[in-house]
Amino acid sequence: MANPFQPDCEMPVTCIPTRSPLLPSAVPALRIARIAAFLLFAGLPYESSAGSFATASATQLANFSLEELMQVQVYSVSKQPEKSFTAPSAIHVITNDDIRRSGVTSLPEALRLAPGVQVSRIDGNKWAISIRGFAGRFSNKLLVLQDGRTLYNPMFSGVYWNVQEIMLEDIEQIEVIRGPGSTLWGANAVNGVISITTRHARDTQGGVITAAGGTWERAATGIRYGIKSGENGFVRGYGTFFYRDSQPPVDTPDLEGYWNDWRGGFRGDWDLASHDTVTLQGDAYESRAGSGFFDGVNLLGRWNRGMSDTSDLSIQLYYDRASAKKRVDADRNHHETRDTANFELQHTFAPGSRQKVVWGTGFRLTHDQLNGNTAFVPAFIPASMTEHLFSAFLQDKITLLSDSLYLILGSRIEHADITGWELQPTARILWTPHEQHTFWSAVTRAVRTPSRAETTILSQVGFIPPVTEIRLIGNSRLPSEKLIAYEAGYRYQPLPVLFFDLALFYNDYRSLIGAVQGLPQGGAPPTLVPVNIASTSTAVGRGGELSVDWRPRAWLELAVAYSFLDLSVSSSSVLPQDKLFMNVDTSPRHQLSVNSVITLPHNVNCTIWLRYVDSLSGPEVPDYVTMDARVAWKPVPNLELSLVGQNLLAAKHLEFGPDLFGNPAAQTERSMYGKVAWKF
């Protein structure tokens, strides 16, 4: 695979990561199954003697006093919220508790907790994160939001994961939707949506101080404090800092993986009247990741009025400024500043007893300023642009059979300056014949808007002496990438402690954007060979995800997730850049995760988390098995001490190839850290 900006340079030689002595060579899938089986059964023989330790039944609890009842640790039987059992889409919710108990320290790593999400670490501060294929440092078919603010950057169509590190303690939940969410969420929600919600200020009263240190997580600290604001309001403020070690790329010692980050922010929630609530929140950050400098601020306000029990109106406004100064290679920089202002209105109401309608409208203005340190390489013409996005949607949930059969119809109409009007309809059917069973199926159309880079790049990417220049040329008339997705799912909860979730999909992609070689110009030898950005490909993705949540004992929770993906792309172009731009062959066929959380006596709990990820054929990454483990102890209710080991099964392993700019991938190393969290 070649560097798009230097077609003649070779990818650094990859080396096969050494295997841990714990795991003699065998088929990895078998190995992980063996470990999983060991974990499962290691605990079981002891169970009868363990009995129902400190777990009380309703009859026992009835003899407790109210004060004692208020001290009982409550766990809910199904980890997934009630609503996700009857959702007509493939949805998984990662909770605050899931994040804490997994021991992850960064947002991208937390996403590994959801089934079907590919999280491949490129180096210490870059990830390729996607759902159902097309993963890259900029995975352009995955929409990501935090509290309704989009984190998807239109520059390269993707997320700068290194500037999204909010305080994990303040995350309420991360909703992960596999499959298109285009009707409700808009363009670029093609393969999935990740929606991060922070906690209501009411739920973060008082203080938290955390401090962690270890081999990768060199030093990390966070503080948050929440107070009441007036009679009916709450506010909190937080600040975090971390410094993470560089992970050297495959064969070159480099500081590209080095990462430090300062961040602060606040959130306030007020009940104005009995019907009105107002939220105001904002963050500011400054981050150095490898050779890149990043800073930004954002401010968001939301007003919600519950007009009646079936009618709800909300208006949200935000402003976001993000600046990135990155090194492209030894003598080229890319400097980008982007201002985004966004308005959204959403209204839910019920016309009659059998229908529930949600509609909304939104307007977004985004203005960018792009500068490189060399006039022509790479350059974007024009260097500054203002883009407008208008959208409106309507979705109706129609009850066909009371309490069991629903039809959901909806569409979004959207206008972007580059691509014009786009229609993104969906039709879904939801059937819950019994409270233990849910079936759903959907057909949806989704689009991905071409990025700023794809439409306006004009860059010299190579030079063949004596006179031939290779030039990458963007295309301002590119149509959107299109997807028609066919999905079906089934959920089954035979016991309160056992939950199965299966989703299957068939994705039909059109007009995928890649690159073709243009006509050489200027005789023989030619003086110019254009590489044109163009719609080159169609693709078909097939696959599914199966997850099982099981709580065999009060002290043991197991979550198993398996996903399968078969993605085939057919392109009219033979250029290597075509595949690189499109992120082809960058996703594993098989992924398996087995996560067990064990609650021990004396306020100790322990997590053991195994993952298998199949090989990648594009960037030539071998498959790997790895394991994280965490043990935590609460000596007093307000204090938690934890020790976490990550990627324990090998000294290091590779997860991905070079990014779009040719930055080589680094091996993910075994690491360990200790952490103290104190509430006051």
Partner: protein, 191 residues
């Protein structure tokens, strides 16, 4: 640096092996750890306990042998948990659990639970049908108090707490003991 990594690796393997082997065995030694319980069991115990701190007007019982009727809307796990308590009595009355549905009127219940799983519009209708009758409405979703419900469970830090809507309780004519009020978060809901 290399030696540090080796030591780390060694410690980790030891730690993991120990964790794996010791975890299940030490589970039996749990005596002084806090009680853990499934959410609906805790709710059931709260509901049963609430009845001891609330006085219903005498007229809400036909006679001295009339059981105490706790009606539950839809939430099967909670119904099952409460049914395990029907051997018990509250203030000398048998504790009876009724699945709220057709044929059951809100006014027949002494206590009525409406949970998060109930469709909001239905929940609203049921609460409205209670009117000012002496029925203790209990719920667990955020809008419950503003809909006129009296007691709402609030999950907090892995535990369950509850709030009481004073306006709604006054309208119902129930007498809530100060002990219960002291433990609750008090809300002054809409009239």
């Amino acid at each position: 640096m290399e030696i540090l990594k080796k030591i780390t690796g060694f410690l980790l393997e030891g730690f993991l092996t120990a964790a794996l082997l010791l975890a299940p065995m030490s589970a039996s030694a749990a005596l002084d750890s806090p009680t853990r319980a499934v959410e609906h069991d805790v709710k059931a115990a709260f509901i049963y306990n609430f009845t001891k701190f609330i006085t219903w007007p005498p007229a809400s019982f036909e006679n001295n042998s009339t059981p105490f009727r706790a009606c539950i809307v839809e939430d099967m796990p909670l119904i099952e948990a409460l049914e395990s308590l029907t051997q018990k009595s509250t203030k000398g009355r048998q504790f009876q659990v009724i699945r709220f549905g057709s044929g059951v009127e809100a006014g027949m219940c002494h206590l009525l639970f409406i949970g998060e799983s109930t469709e909001r519009s239905l929940a609203k209708k049921i609460i409205a049908s209670v009117g000012n009758s002496p029925v203790l409405t209990v719920g667990d979703y955020p809008a419950f108090a503003t809909q006129g419900g009296i007691v709402r469970f609030i999950p907090f830090d892995g535990r369950l707490t509850f709030e009481i809507n004073l306006e709604a309780s006054r309208r119902s004519g129930l007498e809530i003991s100060s002990k219960l009020l002291n433990l609750a978060k008090i809300v002054r809901g809409q009239p």
